[in-house]
């Protein structure tokens, strides 16, 4: 297990290094130079020269990449072009909003998805199972930003039950929660589908196992079997799913944050892209990529811990 963990972690680090280099290299493959775009059309050659020197752009590309990797390792992600604030600080300020949104979405999705999948597997091939099957596929297929728009239209514009923009007043928990409902609805809906499907499939697998047959033979009541011996095992793959799915989660969070004008990493990246604020884009894409790689690596490790067969490689 330790060898596997070490190998997997090493691969994770290697992937992050490659991803960072790729991202950095991409800036330089683009026609037109980033400094000109950063400074705007009125920049003088002297200003360009100073910024070039400051950013170390006169060095050969491999040297620049190594320097950049060193900066990233020290937590220095560059500075905002407009305000001059360190990108690391900006990302750290915005991250909690996104994390709260993601957690709330996953929370309600699991609260509905797990019972739904569980019940569908127990009532396998009944009308309920078929309907819930169609519903879960639909939840997955509908684009989250369309859900966000329709939620905005229905609950904020027409019914005016819930607020449409922002993250709520600071320190006012009620207002913060009411601002969280619609975005988390949009981000979480697809996850109801993912989770219900996965729980149903793994429930069916566990229900066919020997220990369940034994429990039935002993005469344990069905609810005890389901909740104590089947569901407990069947929810485990959901954890792995979350690890792999963090990319999808972050992507839907980007859209939800933009539609509901809610602060967070997604809004940060979007605003930075529209103003061509390179360091902020690169910094925040980097942070989310590292988070993504970390989560997939952790998911792999948890998987290997639970299922020794996964450790052998393929």
């Amino acid at each position: 297990m330790l060898t596997f963990a070490a190998k997997r972690l090493f691969l994770g680090v290697l992937i992050v290094v490659a991803a960072v280099s790729l991202l950095y290299g991409m800036i330089h493959m683009v026609p037109g130079d980033p400094v000109k775009i950063m400074l705007g059309p009125r920049a003088t050659p002297e200003m360009k020269e100073v910024l070039f020197e400051k950013l170390g752009l006169n060095d050969p590309l491999p040297v620049q990449i190594v320097n950049f990797l060193g900066d990233v390792a020290r937590g220095e992600l560059g500075y905002d072009v407009f305000t001059g604030r360190p990108v690391g600080t900006i990302v750290a300020e915005q991250a909690p909003h996104t994390i709260i949104l993601v957690l709330a979405s996953i929370g309600w999705a699991a609260a509905i998805g797990i019972p739904l999948g569980c019940y569908a597997s127990v009532r396998r091939n009944t009308l309920f199972d078929r309907i819930s099957g169609v519903l879960t596929v639909s939840c997955i297929a509908i684009p989250p930003f369309v859900v966000a728009l329709y939620a905005l239209l229905l609950f904020a514009v027409w019914l005016q039950w819930l607020p449409a923009i922002g993250a709520g007043e600071r320190g006012d928990l009620g207002s913060q929660i009411s601002h969280l409902i619609l975005p988390s609805l949009a981000v979480g809906l697809g996850w109801v589908g993912y989770i219900a499907r996965l729980v149903r499939a793994s429930m069916l697998e566990v229900l066919g196992e020997n220990h369940v047959r034994t429990a039935r033979a002993v005469g344990l009541p069905e609810p005890t079997i389901i909740f104590k011996y089947v569901l407990r095992i069947a929810v485990l793959p959901t954890i792995t799913l979350l690890g792999i799915g963090i990319g999808i989660l972050l992507s839907s969070a980007v859209f939800a944050e933009i539609v509901f004008a809610r602060p967070g990493i997604g809004k940060l990246i979007y605003d930075a892209v529209t103003t061509r604020n390179y360091p902020v884009v690169m910094g925040s894409v980097l942070v989310t990529t590292m988070l993504f790689v970390l989560c997939t690596t952790l998911a792999d490790l948890i998987n290997a811990l639970l299922d020794p067969r996964q450790r052998s490689g393929q």
């Binding site: 691969l11 290697l14 992937i15 992050v16 490659a18 991803a19 790729l22 991202l23 991409m26 800036i27 683009v30 169609v134 596929v137 639909s138 997955i140 297929a141 509908i142 684009p143 930003f145 369309v146 728009l149 329709y150 905005l152 239209l153 514009v157 027409w158 499907r197 996965l198 499939a201 963090i246 990319g247 999808i248 972050l250 992507s251 980007v254 859209f255 933009i258 539609v259 990246i269 979007y270 930075a272 892209v273 529209t274 061509r276 390179y278 884009v281 690169m282 925040s284 894409v285 989310t288 990529t289 993504f292 790689v293 997939t296």
Partner: protein, 297 residues
């Protein structure tokens, strides 16, 4: 007599009847039937946009701005007085165009790289796998935003992003299949008979890996349609005034408190398309290749 006649025409009739049989199996599933109808509807309206659209999709008529649906404008008009029904039809064309071209390219390149990784020397396999993992380590939308910042928004940028992010998905599946088939008897036999590697890959391997790959690719259509619409919604995809479901949604979002129609007109076809392709894709997979379910999930 009849036996010879049958043998002569075995290839075309065989393929044709197999296709008809397959279609019948798909249609027998309620979900498959609904999917097929939706996909047909979207495809026909996209191809026939020139004939069905009552107005020019980019024609501005400010006097008719933000009209509600009527017989003249079936879905109403947007903030510039453009006919939403016409825009929706042409938007569907863009969506399908992006999906088919970029998935097609990704399938071809993924197929080649996947077979190369499975069939080639071990070091090449390791390098390719590492490259795939690196590309997949970016969350798709984040990668897309980074690329758009650098290259600028356009239809081609979206296609580039889709091709780059989808190649690893297909290549991995092809590689796994290739590895599984590499040691099988018919490949060995071909090798012993002195068939060249390129010929083995194209003639013997390709027909065996392409089926599951095509099903996988068809299941990615809704994903790609969503990416195109999503990026265009963010103003980072199709450039105005070209209609796209995403840009219609973006216009609608800006004027959401004035009129609900652009948001409804842009979103509902998008939902129907993703649902249709998903239903059809899942039915195809379950009827033709139930084993695939494990690979995907």
């Amino acid at each position: 007599m009849s036996a010879t006649a049958e043998r002569v025409s075995i290839w075309p009739t065989g393929a044709w009847s197999a296709a008809v049989k397959g279609l019948r199996r798909v249609v027998r599933e309620p979900l498959g039937l609904v999917g097929l109808i939706l996909v047909a509807l979207v495809t026909v309206s996209a191809i026939g946009a020139d004939w069905f659209a009552p107005y020019d999709a980019t024609e501005i008529n400010v006097r008719n701005r933000m009209l509600w649906p009527s017989l003249e404008h079936l879905l109403g008009t947007d903030q510039l007085g453009r006919d939403l029904f016409s825009r929706v039809l042409y938007g569907g064309r863009i969506a399908l165009e992006v999906a088919l071209i970029s998935i097609g390219l990704a399938v071809v390149i993924g197929l080649a790289l996947g077979m190369l990784a499975g069939f080639g020397p071990r070091w090449l396999d390791a390098v390719l796998i590492f490259a795939f993992d690196t590309v997949r380590s970016f969350p798709t939308i984040m990668f897309a935003l980074a690329v758009v910042t650098l290259v600028g928004p356009s239809l081609e940028t979206i296609m580039l992003i889709v091709v780059v992010t989808q190649i690893p998905v297909y290549a991995r599946v092809v590689r796994t299949q290739t590895l599984a088939l590499k040691g099988s008897e018919f490949i060995m036999a071909a090798r012993v008979m002195g068939v060249g590697t390129l010929r083995i890959m194209t003639v013997h391997l390709l027909p065996n890996v392409i089926g599951p790959l095509l099903i996988l690719a068809s299941m990615d259509i809704p994903f790609v349609v969503t990416i195109e619409a999503g990026l265009s919604f963010l103003g980072m995809g199709v450039r105005p005034p070209t209609p796209s479901w995403g840009s219609i949604l973006n216009d609608g979002y800006s004027f959401i408190s004035n009129t609900p129609w652009p948001v409804l007109a842009g979103g509902i076809p998008l939902i129907l398309t993703t649902l249709g392709f998903t239903f059809l894709g899942e039915t195809l997979r379950d009827t033709f290749d139930p084993k695939l379910r494990r690979i995907i999930e």
